[in-house]
């Protein structure tokens, strides 16, 4: 089954390019560490999911590019074409001239209705190219105007028009210290709307990706391109084909459905985070060897202590002893906060993958009481190595990963709202203070729910 990607705004388009590039490069990587037959099945499965074919054999990404100003999309299109390996469809791009001015209301209330038909038509065309549709992957940022506002609008439309298909939104959490001054407003408006219309929110934080570039990849002058490549690597390790129950050469057919089934058991809890191990520069890779035991031990502790990467993990954090009550809201401020999970999915790729022992993840102390670990935890294993890493492990987690960042953003937005700063910029385009209050209420509810796990 295929996934149709919708790239929105500068962030969405810049990331989308890196994602497709990473997916393509990996699927054509000769160091797959598996048999030729397996490799070919892998390539075919990856292709079915993400690329369609054109007459001259160049794979075309199953994607729709949307932006309200032309510079980024034309850059993205030409970068892809110039690579010669894959490209975007010639007519898959919708763009306007004037931008959204970092204004959620402008993206949602003005651009949305105005361009609804054109955008949905483009998506429809892409959907028709698929033999069978697994769902939509929508890449957008929360801080700007197009990705956030128009992204929320498009997701809502997808829910109306394709109610049987799944929607996963890849959201970029902006740097804590502003990229955009009104980013907190745009973020809470986006999150509250997506919570109602999306099936799962996969979140990546710029701060975390930045640290990975600095500490693990050893990049001195970090550019957005570097950050996006780390992100693409993480997404690739999740979305590339994995074996289904039947074993090797048979890959899972419904990636989004399988992800949601495992990770989103309850509509109140939709926020997912990804952790990936190992992650390092290519130079270091040549000199490193890993064991599954070591990797999984680190990954488990990253989960428990809510660490964003494999350096600087807090090994003091332990799962709570059974029988003790959960700490609730007070725990937000305590140092040794244990990260409670609802559901986890571990994806292992590479050599000797079947020997990997995942017992540590099946500990019931890691999970809330309402799901048995056998339902809360799942593992997918694939021989075929990912992106030159002899062994790599990815964790997709529905847990309290994003509780603190969410709480922080809601707090900052609330402070600004209480002073009424910038509100006139939003009400100018048809929004009202009521809409803000609704968003705050919904998100406080989400914070409370995650807090009380």
């Amino acid at each position: 089954m295929s996934i149709v990607t919708v790239q929105l705004g500068q962030c969405g388009n810049q990331i989308g390019f890196e994602v497709f590039d990473a997916l393509y490069t990996d699927s054509h990587c000769p160091q797959g560490l598996c048999s030729k037959r397996e490799n070919e099945a892998y390539q075919a499965s990856c292709k079915e999911r993400f690329f369609s074919e054109e007459e001259n054999g160049v794979p075309v990404a199953r994607a729709v590019l949307v932006d309200m100003e032309p510079k980024v999309t034309s850059q993205t299109l030409s970068k892809a074409t110039q690579s010669g390996r894959w490209k975007y469809g010639q007519h898959s791009c919708f763009c306007q001239k004037q931008g959204s001015g970092n204004n959620w209301a402008y993206g949602y209330s003005v651009h949305g209705p105005r361009h609804e038909e054109s955008i949905m038509n483009l998506i429809q065309k892409e959907v028709e190219k698929c033999d069978s549709l697994s769902g939509f992957f929508i890449i957008m940022s929360m801080a700007g105007g197009t990705g956030s506002g128009l992204g929320a609008f498009v997701t809502q439309n997808l829910q109306d028009q394709y109610s049987n298909s799944l929607k996963m939104n890849q959201i970029i959490w902006p740097y804590g210290t502003g990229e955009v001054i009104v980013q907190n407003y745009n973020s809470i408006l986006t999150l509250s709307h997506l919570y109602r219309s999306s099936d799962a929110l996969l979140v990546h934080e710029n701060d975390a990706l930045h640290k990975i570039c600095a500490k693990l990849m050893n990049i001195k002058q970090i550019s957005f391109s570097d950050i996006n490549q780390v992100l693409a690597h993480q997404l690739g390790s999740v979305f590339q084909p994995t074996y289904s129950v039947e074993g090797s050469c048979h890959y899972r057919r419904n990636p989004l459905g399988d992800l949601m089934e495992n990770l989103v058991p309850h509509p109140e809890f939709k926020m997912l985070g990804i952790r990936n191990i190992p992650q390092m520069s290519e130079n270091s890779l040549a000199y490193s060897t890993f064991t599954w035991a070591g990797l999984l031990k680190h990954l488990r502790q990253m989960l428990i202590s809510n660490s964003k990467m494999e350096e600087g993990i807090d090994w003091q954090v332990r799962p709570p002893l059974p029988g003790l009550p959960t700490l609730g809201k007070a725990s937000l401020n305590r140092g040794l906060h244990f990260n409670m999970s609802i559901a986890n999915l571990v994806i292992l790729r590479g050599k000797d993958v079947h020997s990997a022992d995942l017992g540590g993840f099946k500990d019931s102390a890691l999970y809330t009481s309402w799901l048995e670990p056998i339902n809360a935890f799942n593992a997918w294993k694939t021989h075929r190595a990912f992106s030159k890493y002899e062994k790599s492990a990815a964790l997709v987690s529905n847990s309290q990963f994003l509780l603190k960042p969410l709480d922080t953003i809601v707090g900052k937005a609330w402070n600004m709202f209480a002073s009424k700063a910038y509100i006139h910029q939003y009400t100018k385009f048809g929004m009202e203070e009521e809409d803000f209050l609704d968003s705050f209420t919904l998100l406080e509810q989400v914070v409370a729910s995650y807090c009380n796990l």
């Binding site: 500068q10 810049q14 100003e69 510079k71 980024v72 850059q75 306007q96 001239k97 004037q98 931008g99 959204s100 001015g101 970092n102 204004n103 105007g145 740097y175 804590g176 210290t177 502003g178 990229e179 955009v180 001054i181 009104v182 930045h210 570039c213 600095a214 990049i219 001195k220 002058q221 970090i222 550019s223 957005f224 391109s225 950050i227 809601v410 707090g411 900052k412 609330w414 402070n415 600004m416 209480a418 002073s419 009424k420 700063a421 910038y422 006139h424 910029q425 705050f440 209420t441 406080e444 509810q445 409370a448 729910s449 009380n452």
Partner: protein
């Protein structure tokens, strides 16, 4: 409203850049009288102006913004300029209006400049989206600084001629005779940097509508202090990172501002950094972290930074930075202006020149002053919060 300047442009090296049909001139000028510019020439030329504006607008696929460039102290720029502002708001309500205003310095030669400025301020308060105030004294100081560097002949410092923010080596040599050309070049560079992200590609674009969105938290508080760095590039100097960080520090130094003000000792409401050239997001973040502690931000916008990265640097530089700050430090400028106004107004000096124009009444003056007082009061209220501890507002509590 007089022909001299426009004619000079039409005969100068840029004559082909301007469409000679898109000109409106008169003969006698406005006599440094806001009322003549606004009331007399405004009504006289309204139709013509509208017609030419519509013609220009038709050429655009998508019109986003008007730039109005004028001075506050004179008659035409100030009076007709602000009349135009109102016209644009009525005719093109969805198009942003950015105004670059040259404010009169303490010692300027137009006696009625306080009247003109205050009358114009009311219009700017009500009808502009964003104002970039500039004063000639600051521009002059910048040129003097450059002159010092160029002529000081310090060891090992040779300056690339094209890199001067006052541009063109000739302008520097001749600036003693024609200082305004060099000074105006600085303002031109300001506008170039402002629009760079819209004209060129970059990893984090910023359009003009984003400036208004991020830097104007309340409709009236739309006055932005601008500073430009670097002023020149030293040739043969290869210390990249230090020079880059120095650029950020300079942007927050008073020497690089286009208006006399002291932002560091006042309250920041918001700040935008528009970077051009080979600068990456990590450089940006590092410098923000470094400079943040020395700046005071308003309580509800503690991390109020808007950033943009454009890949193409200005001519002659490897990188450049334009900082726009919405800061309460503009208050003293306005208060001084008000004071100068009151000194004249109390004596009713020169008032008759204005009142004899049809449509002008004393109430107009009173309204203008109260508009300015209202603005100053808003800044005062924000300043009062400066030393107060930052307290979070109590959040909504949800029944679980």
């Amino acid at each position: 409203m007089e022909e001299g300047v426009v004619n000079e442009i039409l005969q100068g090296p840029l004559r082909d850049v301007f469409d000679s049909k898109q000109l409106i001139t008169d003969i006698s000028g406005s006599g440094n009288n806001w009322a003549v510019g606004y009331k007399v020439f405004g009504s006289l030329y309204q139709e013509q102006i509208l017609e030419k504006l519509r013609k220009s607008a038709e050429h655009c696929d998508c019109l986003q913004c008007f730039f109005i460039i004028h001075s506050m102290g004179g008659g035409t720029g100030s009076g007709l300029g602000t009349f135009l502002l109102k016209l644009l708001e009525d005719e093109f309500p969805e198009v942003y209006r950015f105004v670059t205003s040259v404010y009169p310095s303490g010692e300027d030669d137009v006696i009625t400049s306080p009247y003109n400025s205050i009358l114009a301020m009311k219009e700017l308060n009500e009808h502009a989206d964003c104002v970039l105030p500039i004063d000639n004294q600051s521009l002059f100081d910048i040129i003097s600084k450059i002159d010092l560097m160029v002529n000081s002949g310090k060891l090992g410092t040779t300056i690339k001629p094209k890199s001067l923010v006052t541009s063109s080596a000739e302008a520097v040599k001749k600036w003693h005779q024609r200082p305004f050309d060099a000074m105006n070049n600085i303002v031109a560079n300001l506008l170039l940097n402002l629009t760079s992200s819209a004209r060129f590609e970059g990893s984090l674009n910023m359009d003009l509508n984003e400036i208004s969105m991020n830097l104007v938290p309340f409709p009236q508080l739309h006055y932005l202090v601008s500073s430009l760095t670097p002023l020149y590039t030293l040739a043969d100097v290869n210390i990249p990172t230090r020079r880059l960080d120095q650029m950020f520090s300079d942007a927050f130094s008073k020497d690089h501002q286009l208006i006399r003000a002291d932002p560091k000792h006042s309250l920041y409401l918001a700040c935008a950094l528009m970077v051009r050239g080979n600068v990456q997001v990590s450089d940006l973040r590092r410098n923000i972290e470094r400079l943040k502690p020395s700046l005071q931000f308003v309580s509800w916008n503690q991390e109020g930074w808007k950033t943009s990265l454009c890949s193409v640097p200005p001519v002659g530089h490897s990188h450049s930075l334009l900082a726009l700050a919405n800061n309460t430090c503009v208050k003293p400028t306005f208060m001084e202006l008000k004071e100068r106004f009151m000194r004249l107004y109390k004596k009713k000096a020169h008032l008759h020149h204005y009142l004899q124009i049809e449509g002008m009444e004393e109430s107009g003056f009173m309204e203008a002053v109260s508009s300015l007082s209202g603005l100053i009061e808003e800044y005062n209220q924000l300043d009062a919060t400066k030393s107060m501890p930052v307290e979070d507002f109590p959040r909504l509590s949800i029944a679980v």
